[in-house]
Symmetry: C2
Subunit: 417 residues, 2 copies
C-alpha cells in the first residue's frame, strides 16, 4: 500500500515537472509570492500543528537544542515567508544559454539551462527546510518531494499543505510541492529507489542520515554537509590575524558544518601562538585536545586521541596539532578532512599557492575564516545545501546547482557522413 | 583476499590522484606521448594477448560482431596510439578559473577547475576503451581504475600494463593507471562501493551492465548510453529533408546509441511521406514495425507492439507511428524515450521552439540527424561517454566533464560577524 502511494506521488511529481519545465519566470515568481502570503495568512494552523510536534517532542524527551530547532513562532514563519520572497527576487537560471557555437558543417550547437526534474529532499528537524527547499525548487522549475523527520511531521505537513495549495491556486501544476504523508521508514526507502520518477536526492541532516541515503539510494545523490574543517597557522602567519580567524571559525557558531574542528600550527610559531590560543579558547569555554607538543607547552590541555582528528565535534571542542611544515599540514588535512572547508593563515605567497593547489576540499581559504562557506556569504543569494562530493556541485549550492543543461542543435538538413 | 587487493588498488589510486592533481599540463602531455609510443613499440605483446582472447572467444562461441569488436590489429593499435596523441593536443581544462568575483567584505571568491580524483570505468568488449579512457583521465589529472569485460581480459591487461609502465617512466605517480587484475565479479562489486577511494564510476556498455552498476553502486555514477531516439516529421516538414535525415539516423550506423529507433509522423503528411519512407527503408533492409495507420497505408508493414516503442533495437529495425499533432509526438517521446537524442523536422518556427522546450532529453535537434550526438561531432575533441542523466553532465562528455571545481577564497583576515 505504501508502495502504491509512493508510486502515485512520484507520478504526480513527474507530471508536475513536465509542466513546470515550461513555466515562465513570471508564473513561478507569482506562485512564490502567493506561497509567501499564504504562510502568513495561515500561520495559526501552522503554529497549532507545530504545537502538537512540540508536545510529542517533550514527551519523547528531545533535547533542548532539538526542541528549539523544532519550534516555530510567528517570527520564524515570517522568516520563511520572507525567504520565499527573496527567492522570487533572484534571477531565474532556467533558460540561460550557457554556450552556443557553430560547427564546420553549419550545425549550431548550444547548451541551455533546464530544471533537473523531480528533486527529493530527505531532511531532519527544522521545519523551515520545508519552505526553503520548496521555494528553491519551484523557482528552478523542479517538482519537489519532501520527506521530513518524524519529530516535525505535523509542522511539515501543515507547511507543505499551505504551500502546495497556494502554488496550485497560482496556476502551478498540482504535484509540484508534495510531502510524503507517512513517517513509515519504508516510504523513505522507496523514495531512494524511485529512479523512474526522481532525478536527484539531496539529504540534509546529520552524518547518519546522509550515510543511509548514500548506501541505499539508486537515485543519484548529492552528499551534503559533513565538515571536519581545519585552519593551518603557517610559520609566516600574522599571529593576531590567525587568532581572530581561529576564534571566529571555532566559536561564532560551533554547531554548523563550516566551523573549525582542528587547528594545525607550524612548530616554529607554536610556542608563541599556542599560549595565546589556549587563553582565548578557555575564555570562550572551548575544550582543547592537543598533541604531545601542545601539552609540553601547556600541560593543562587534554591529550588528543586518534578519533579526535576524525571528529566533527559541532561543539565547543577543538583539536590542536603542531606540525613540522606545510606538507605535514596538508597531509593531515587530506587524510582526516571531509573535503568541506580548509584554511591557511600565512603571509607567504608561495605557501598560500601550495595550500590552494594541494588541499582537496570544496572550499579552500587563505587568511579568512572557514565560516564563510555558505551560499549567502558567497553571494549565491540562496542555498539548498553544501555539497561535499565532486560530481555536479561542490561547495554551497544555489539555484544554478538545481538545474541541468541540455544540448540544443539547430540544423538545416545536416546528416552524418 | 580480493577485498585486500581491491583495497590496495584503491589506496594506490588515491595516492596517485593526490599527486596527479598537482601535475603540470606539460608533464601529463609528455606522459601521453610516451604512452602512445609504448603502444606501438609493444604492439607485438598486445597482439599476442589479444590472440589468446580471440581463441577463447571463438571457443566460447562469441558472435561475429563481438569477435570483431574484440579483435585488435596493428591498425587498431595505431588508432589507439593516435587517440592518445590527439588527447595530448587538446587544451587542459584543469586550472581554469571558471569565475572570480569580489564580495562586499573584500573576500575574493572564485572557482577553479580541478580533477575529479579517482575515476572507475566498468566496461565491456572493446579493448580500445582501455587506452581511450586512460588517456582522457590522465589528461584531466584523474587516476583511473579500469574494470574490463572478461572476454577481453588478456588484451586489456596487456594494454594497461604498457600504459602504466610508460606513464610511470614519464614521471607520473605509480597507480595512475590500474586495471582490476581478476575477472571475479566480487571485484566489480567491491569497486562499486569503494567510496573512500573512488570519486565517480562511469559504466560503459549495454543496458544490463549500466543497470547493474546503478543498482549496486554507492559511489556516484554517471549513467551513459542507452538511447531510444526518435525523429518526428512535422506537418510542415520538408519531406525530402525528412527522408534524408531518417535514412541517416536509422541506417548510417544502427548499432550505436544515437541511431533512431522510432519515427513519428504527423497524420496530415503520413500518406505522402510513409510510402517514400517504406521504400527507402526496404531498400536498406530495414524491418518496419508500424501502427495501425501505417499498416492501412502499407499492409506489408509488420504491426508494432507496445514493447517496440520501448526498445533500443540497435539494429535494422524501425518502429513507426502516425500522430495527431506535436503534443502527441512530444508525449510519446517523453514517455518512451530514454532522454538521449530527439529530433524534429519542420519549417515551423513555432513548433521548432515548442519541441526544443518540451522534449526532455540530453540533445534535442531541429532539422538534423540524431547521429550527431557525439563528443567529436559537437566539437569537444574527445568523448568518455554520453550521459543520459541530469546530474553533473548531460549528453556527450569531454574533458571538462572529467573535472570538478573547488571554491578558492582569498582574504586578508575576514571573519564572519
Amino acid at each position: 500500500m505504501i508502495q502504491a502511494r509512493m508510486e502515485q506521488l512520484g507520478k504526480k511529481a513527474k507530471e508536475a515537472a513536465r509542466s513546470l519545465m515550461l513555466a515562465s519566470t513570471d508564473q513561478k515568481n507569482q506562485a512564490l509570492h502567493q506561497m509567501a502570503e499564504a504562510l502568513i495568512a495561515q500561520s495559526e494552523d501552522i503554529l497549532q500543528a507545530n504545537q502538537i510536534d512540540m508536545e510529542e517532542g517533550k514527551h519523547k524527551g528531545l533535547s533542548g537544542t532539538l526542541l528549539d530547532r523544532l519550534m516555530l513562532s510567528r517570527k520564524r514563519i515570517e522568516e520563511m515567508s520572507e525567504g520565499l520572497l527573496a527567492v522570487a527576487a533572484l534571477p531565474d537560471p532556467v533558460g540561460e544559454v550557457v554556450e552556443m557555437y557553430r560547427r564546420p558543417n553549419g550545425l549550431e550547437v548550444g547548451r541551455i539551462r533546464v530544471p533537473l526534474g523531480v528533486v527529493g529532499i530527505i531532511y531532519e528537524a527544522r521545519p523551515n527546510v520545508t519552505a526553503d527547499a520548496a521555494g528553491l525548487c519551484l523557482k528552478t522549475g523542479n517538482a519537489i518531494i519532501l520527506r521530513g523527520g518524524s519529530e516535525a511531521f505535523n509542522s511539515n505537513q501543515a507547511i507543505a499543505r499551505v504551500l502546495a495549495e497556494a502554488a496550485t491556486a497560482a496556476g502551478i501544476h498540482e504535484g509540484a510541492v508534495q510531502l510524503v504523508d507517512t513517517t513509515d521508514r519504508e516510504a523513505a526507502n522507496l523514495l531512494m529507489r524511485m529512479n523512474r520518477y526522481v532525478d536527484v536526492l539531496i539529504p540534509r541532516g546529520g552524518a547518519g542520515l546522509i550515510q543511509t541515503v548514500v548506501n541505499n539510494a539508486t537515485v543519484p545523490v548529492i552528499e551534503t554537509g559533513v565538515g571536519n574543517c581545519h585552519t593551518y597557522v603557517d610559520e609566516d602567519a600574522d599571529l593576531d590575524m590567525a587568532l581572530e580567524i581561529a576564534i571566529n571559525a571555532k566559536c561564532q557558531r560551533p554547531s554548523v558544518c563550516n566551523a573549525m574542528e582542528s587547528l594545525l600550527v607550524h612548530e616554529s610559531v607554536a610556542s608563541e601562538f599556542l599560549p595565546r590560543l589556549a587563553e582565548a579558547m578557555r575564555e570562550r569555554k572551548v575544550e582543547l585536545r592537543g598533541c604531545e607538543r601542545f601539552r609540553e607547552i601547556d600541560p593543562g590541555v587534554k591529550p588528543a586521541v586518534e578519533s579526535d582528528w576524525e571528529t566533527e565535534f559541532l561543539d565547543f571542542i577543538l583539536a590542536v596539532k603542531v606540525v613540522k611544515n606545510l606538507d605535514e599540514a596538508m597531509d593531515h588535512i587530506n587524510r582526516y578532512g571531509t573535503g568541506h572547508s580548509e584554511a591557511i593563515v600565512t603571509r607567504s605567497y608561495e605557501r598560500a599557492r601550495s595550500f590552494m593547489a594541494g588541499v582537496d576540499a570544496a572550499a579552500v581559504f587563505v587568511n579568512a575564516s572557514t565560516r564563510f562557506t555558505d551560499g549567502f556569504q558567497f553571494g549565491l543569494g540562496a542555498e539548498i545545501g553544501i555539497s561535499t562530493q565532486k560530481l555536479h556541485a561542490r561547495g554551497p549550492m544555489g539555484l544554478k546547482e538545481l538545474t541541468s543543461t541540455k544540448y540544443i542543435i539547430y540544423g538545416n538538413g545536416q546528416i552524418r557522413k
